[in-house]
């Protein structure tokens, strides 16, 4: 039995819930499901250009875990572009660095430093906010 993987720490939620192929896409095909830890691995390693060791330290998991998460993520990204599949970004064994909220009025995301729960959007003041973890 492999020992259960520890939760990956995510600095910030992904910007969107997923992507649609342009022009053509296979009807009824299941979307490729990229988990948020897989998204984070791609972001840290390929977008930010960090080493696996640095990414492991940011995500709070072991280096071999990062290698595994990253490997899975790459296969999924390749499947998505080769098979022209939809991509959804959701779930995974994760927790956020601090609580994150989204505002339906101005479409911004903001955190709650020091665990202070906001009653309204820190940018526009609207009370149409929801917790991204719920």
């Amino acid at each position: 039995m492999p020992k259960p993987r520890v939760l990956s720490k995510i600095q910030m939620p992904p910007r969107v819930k997923g992507f649609n192929p342009m022009g053509y896409y296979r009807k009824n095909a299941e979307p490729v499901k990229l988990s948020i830890d897989e998204y984070e691995a791609i972001r840290l390693l390929d977008y930010e250009g960090l080493t696996q060791k640095q990414a492991a330290s940011i995500m709070g998991v072991s280096r071999p875990s990062v290698t595994r998460i990253y490997q899975k993520a790459r296969v999924k990204m390749a499947t998505m572009i080769t098979e022209a599949r939809q991509l959804s970004i959701e779930g995974g064994r994760i927790f956020f660095d601090s609580s994150w909220f989204c505002c339906e009025n101005c479409d911004s995301k903001f955190n709650a430093p020091l665990g202070k729960q906001p009653e309204c959007c820190v940018l526009c003041g609207a009370n149409t906010i929801y917790n991204l973890e719920e």
């Binding site: 600095q11 910030m12 660095d97 101005c106 995301k109 430093p113 940018l123």
Partner: protein, 106 residues
């Protein structure tokens, strides 16, 4: 709340710069006093450690406690977390400073 906003131009018609650390200007907005000013990013062409230097300067010189951005580099994000800064990530890169000031009531 004192917010640092990376902006493409030093006027309210300017939009939010996509890359925080490489933004030519910052708007420093004081929400309570309803004031804002533009400052030049002198670290823009530095090769290494831009995020760290820029962050220290914004904190020390302007008492910034909130960062508003479209995308934050990993270094700035880590520093902001360590200092428990308020972060606001907008989802529209074409948002002008004028619109942001309107949202903040400044």
């Amino acid at each position: 709340m004192i917010v640092a906003i990376p902006v493409s131009e030093n006027n309210v018609k300017g939009t939010v710069s996509t890359k925080f650390s490489r933004s030519p200007y910052f708007a420093i907005v004081n929400k309570e006093e309803k004031k804002y000013e533009f400052v030049i990013n002198n670290y823009i062409d530095e090769i290494e450690g831009v995020g760290k230097k820029l962050f220290a300067w914004l904190m020390k010189s302007y008492g910034v406690n909130t960062l508003l951005a479209y995308e934050l580099g990993i270094k700035v994000q880590q520093l902001a977390d360590e200092q428990n800064l308020q972060l606001i990530i907008i989802n529209d890169e074409s948002m002008t400073l004028e619109k942001i000031l309107q949202y903040l009531g400044v």
